[in-house]
């Protein structure tokens, strides 16, 4: 089996401008939704209480709402969660009422309504903790971006570092855009997924950058766009197979993981799909626009490569 059979390098760079415009539009759309709708922050970041309750039979959400209404808790939501038997209640933060009292009160009225109800899970996050989690999440994103830039600049060249991080932050923003557009809940596991995607798609850019460098050394007479085209074409098979493999695992999480892993797996799926596109078709044109040339890469690299080969050869 061989999925990819190319007789020619695909002239990706001839269409570089088109790709960049497509990227820019999706990117701007994502930014627009983030600005317009905002992220639907979960209890981890926003603070508040989430209760998961279960019944022996299908949960009657209307009756749950009627019961909770008697407590006058302000803006709360009740929705079914995973199966019909379980429901998720989100309660806002309330001044002066501790989480303990809140969840006990709610369980009290629900028990009075239907003795079958069991409390499966309660999560309460105070406003301060939520804010901190939000800040440390943003800080983690920044740290990863800086770490990656430094590493790539040292291993390759600043043009690659800048292009790779731009391409991958573009992926991240698009994932966030999806979460804003569909108002999916953005929780701690989703943040973990987003950061994992960042590491993962930089990985993609590295593979292509590696090939570009190698091609500069070998294709002495080829033009820069041709070198890049050749690098993308020869790695395309690997890119697709790898992403397919990773996606198989993520798909398994989507199917078997239930509600708890749903958005985590969803964020990864979007990241993987856009990762395929962005590493080749966002990063490579950027490297080209930034004016990469053979001289940037080949001379200092040769020595390094030789040394490494010595070390690694078994």
């Amino acid at each position: 089996m061989e999925f990819f059979r190319f007789t020619h390098d695909i002239p990706f760079m001839r269409h570089a401008l088109k790709f960049n415009i497509i990227s820019l539009i999706t990117f701007l759309l994502a930014i627009f939704f983030l600005w317009h709708k905002g992220l639907n922050l979960g209890v981890d970041f926003k603070g508040g209480t989430v209760m998961e309750i279960g019944y022996n039979s299908a949960a009657n959400l209307e009756r749950v709402r009627t019961a909770i209404d008697t407590l006058h808790l302000g803006e709360y939501t009740v929705q079914s969660f995973g199966t019909a038997d379980t429901a998720l209640i989100r309660l806002p933060l309330k001044e002066g009422v501790s989480s303990a009292q809140l969840s006990e009160q709610v369980m009290g009225v629900l028990k009075a309504d239907n003795a079958d109800v069991v409390q499966r899970r309660v999560e309460f996050v105070g406003p301060q903790v939520g804010k901190e989690l939000y800040q440390s999440g943003a800080l983690a994103l920044l740290l990863v971006a800086i770490g990656v830039i430094i590493y790539l600049a040292a291993r390759f060249e600043w043009r690659f570092a800048v292009s790779a991080i731009t391409a991958n932050l573009h992926d991240i923003v698009i994932i966030l855009g999806f979460f804003a557009f569909f108002q999916w809940e953005f929780s701690l596991p989703v943040l973990a997924a987003v950061l994992a995607v960042l590491g993962y798609s930089v990985n993609e850019s590295v593979v292509i950058a590696d090939r570009i460098r190698e091609n500069f050394r070998k294709m002495r007479k080829a033009s820069v766009p041709h070198v890049i085209d050749s690098a993308i074409t020869s790695t395309i098979s690997r890119t697709v197979i790898t992403h397919l493999s990773t996606q198989l695992m993520v798909l398994s999480m989507l199917i078997f993981g239930g509600e708890a892993l749903h958005y985590f797996a969803l964020a990864l799926t979007i990241g993987i799909l856009f990762g395929i596109y962005s590493s080749g078709l966002v990063m490579a044109p950027l490297v080209m626009w930034l004016g990469v040339s053979r001289e940037n890469l080949v001379k200092p690299e040769r020595k390094k490569e030789g040394l490494e080969a010595e070390k690694i050869m078994p």
Binding site: A100, S103, R121, A140, L143, V148, P189, V202, E214, M249
Partner: protein, 644 residues
């Protein structure tokens, strides 16, 4: 240089490399296996009191009790947590618990139900234990408590204002009053001379106070505030003491393996695995006073009638730590939250052991009034544990005690003084706390999480392995085997390190497997490419591995950067994700490159003339288009040179 190297390649590993692989896989299997032993019911006995240690003597006693009651029991462990005894079945576990609790009493020990892995003892001995499961997988309650640091400083300032008042009186310095203002103390004077003397004296007796003069005319003030190092000391002590208090309270719940841990500068994490009733747990943790001071009823004859069973109205009969009966009035004079500190010490003149208690300003005032009216009577200090009161000590009031500094002395050894001080401290919180985060997971949800996580990993793994095998044939089988080794090593590492596995952690296992296959895809694609260019199979394998290595290294480093950032900044479940992610990246480098190449050399390395590698179909474009349009890989150049 390069040419020679290429030509000599036979893809054979030296013996020591095989040995490394065999040892790694064997160790991996050994440390993975405990996760598959089923859990067996067990009983856990732990001490409630800091002064009572659980040791082998107790174990012998416990075994004796079980033997006498004709209850079968299995292996036992004594560790810092307590004694754990494996039981043959659930009935024996329940029965054993009741028998033991009755025999040991519930004053000193808690007897809790627990589940232990049935891992053989020799395995546990080399630390081969199953992974620790997080609360989201085993069910339980998690609290994050915030210690009010300002509250701790306010309490300290309270303490200082009583100290300074005593100092002013002792040194006979005229003043217009001493008041606490936030976390500093303000002293007021009529004239500058008094203020200077006060400043001088305080500087000598309390160098940790920073003194700033304020005001003018006849309202001269001196503001005493704590210097930063003392502030830090007080705050650190507040967290430590609150943790000690929490441990005491948590012990009351009889939870098998509670965790009370500091998190950051001013937070405490409390985790109670297996606890279902979050409300009860919250009440126990949030309680403020477990210590009460009450008056002893010393009317003649009261004790005798009480011992006959007729305790007077509004009185209780208790026994002190030596078993002597004491009748105590119900009215509470003071509660534990009025106690700022209690430390063991010695009297200055006779060097007798004492307990020095420090009350806050409200407590000091009450204490002064009560002692003034009750000189010569006895006062009982009682610790309330598990809804049962015990008289720690019942000293006689010698004189009116003002200023909030109380000294308890008389018939005590140094050890007893230490004990009493500890118990009095344990009843009090050094600073108020509030719950800032709470997560409760029911046991059925925990089991569901384990099941879902396990299915995700297994389902993905099987489909991925099948896909890779069908796409790369024998080389795919090698990759899938390497992936299996990766999974085994990762689980072994997590088990050996006793890292806590959470649901995001399981997700990270799945994701790591999905990402780590990338290394093998890179290698296999490279080999195919070399073959496409007509390289000999041996050369293709060698340069495939070699060329792919630097790419693999680069991409894993970037993944590791993301993992480390998550670890540093994440908390709870996310940290669990990060740990697995980072460890998985490292094991994958080993298995995907080192182990898979070992396998290849076992399969192909010994054949001198290797005609073909089973790596799936390698499609070859017409030679002319190839040369004209593609960059030739290194191996191909060699080949072409040979052909010429």
């Amino acid at each position: 240089m390069r040419w020679k190297k290429r030509a000599s390649i036979m893809n054979r590993y030296p013996l020591w490399k095989y040995l490394i692989i065999i040892v790694a896989v064997a160790l991996g299997a050994l440390y993975t296996v405990p996760n598959f032993f089923p859990e067996v019911p067990a009983i856990q006995i732990s001490s409630i009191k800091a002064t009572i240690k659980v040791d082998n003597a107790l174990l012998t006693r416990v075994q004796g009790i079980l033997k006498n009651a004709n209850i079968e029991y299995g292996d036992s462990v004594v560790d810092s947590v307590g004694i754990k005894i494996k039981m043959p079945n659930n009935d024996a576990q329940m029965h054993g618990r009741d028998v033991l609790q009755a025999a040991l009493g519930d004053d000193d020990y808690t007897v809790a139900l627990n589940m232990l892995s049935s891992t053989p003892a020799w395995m546990e001995h080399i630390n081969a234990k199953p992974m620790a499961l997080g609360l989201d997988l085993r069910g339980g309650v998690h609290f994050l408590l915030q210690v009010d640091m300002k509250g701790a400083l306010d309490k300290a300032a309270d303490r200082y204002s009583t100290d300074l008042r005593t100092l002013m009186r002792d040194k006979k310095i005229q003043n217009r009053g001493i008041l606490r203002e936030g976390s500093s103390v303000v002293l007021r004077f009529r004239d500058a001379a008094a203020r200077d003397t006060a400043r001088d004296q305080i500087g000598r007796s309390n160098p940790e106070l920073q003194l700033t003069p304020r005001g003018e005319g006849d309202d001269l003030q001196l503001v005493a505030s704590l210097n930063p190092s003392k502030q830090k000391e007080i705050q650190d002590n507040a967290v430590t003491q609150n943790m000690a208090t929490l441990r005491n309270r948590v012990n009351e719940l009889g939870v098998a393996e509670p965790i009370v841990q500091q998190a950051g500068a001013d937070r405490i994490v409390v985790q109670l695995p297996g606890v279902q009733d979050a409300a009860a747990a919250r009440r126990v943790i949030g309680r403020t006073a477990t210590l009460e001071i009450r008056m002893v009823n010393e009317e003649p004859g009261v004790l005798e009638t009480a011992l006959r069973g007729q305790v007077p109205f509004d009185n209780d009969l208790f026994r002190d730590r030596d078993g002597r009966p004491v009748v105590v009035k119900r009215q509470v004079v003071l509660t534990g939250d009025r106690i700022n500190d209690a430390q063991p010490g010695f009297t200055q003149d006779t060097s007798q052991p004492t307990v020095n208690v420090n009350l806050d300003s409200v407590g000091a005032r009450i204490f002064r009034d009560v002692t003034r009216e009750n000189v010569g009577k006895r006062m009982a200090v009682m610790l309330i544990e598990r809804n049962k009161a015990e008289v720690i000590t019942a000293p006689v009031i010698r004189e009116e005690i003002g200023g909030g500094r109380v000294q308890i002395s008389g018939a005590m050894t140094t050890r007893e003084a230490n004990e009493v001080a500890l118990l009095m401290r344990a009843g009090a919180l050094a600073a108020p706390m509030e719950i800032v985060e709470e997560r409760t997971v029911g046991p059925s949800l925990g089991e569901e999480h384990i099941k879902r996580g396990f299915h995700s990993v297994l389902g993905g793994f099987i489909v991925l392995a099948l896909f890779i095998c069908s796409y790369y044939m024998v080389m795919g089988l090698v990759s899938a085997t390497a992936l299996t080794v990766n999974l085994v090593l990762l689980i072994a590492l997590l088990s050996a390190l006793q890292a806590t596995l959470t649901l995001p952690g399981i997700a990270a296992i799945a994701l790591t497997l999905g990402i780590s296959i990338d290394a093998n895809v890179l290698i296999n694609e490279r080999i195919r490419e070399e073959l496409r260019w007509g390289a000999s199979p041996h050369t293709a394998i060698a340069s495939g591995y070699e060329r792919a290595w630097s790419t693999i290294l680069d991409s894993n480093v970037t993944n590791l950067i993301a993992g480390i950032a998550l670890f540093m900044l994440g908390s709870g479940p996310v940290r669990g994700f990060a740990v697995v992610h980072c460890l998985g990246i490292m094991t994958s480098m080993f298995s995907a490159v080192f182990v898979s190449r070992g396998l290849v050399s076992v399969i192909y390395g010994h054949r001198k003339r290797l005609e073909k590698i089973s790596i799936g179909q390698v499609w070859k474009p017409p030679v002319e288009t190839l040369a004209a349009n593609f960059a030739a890989p290194d191996g191909a150049r060699t080949h072409k040179a040979e052909a010429k």
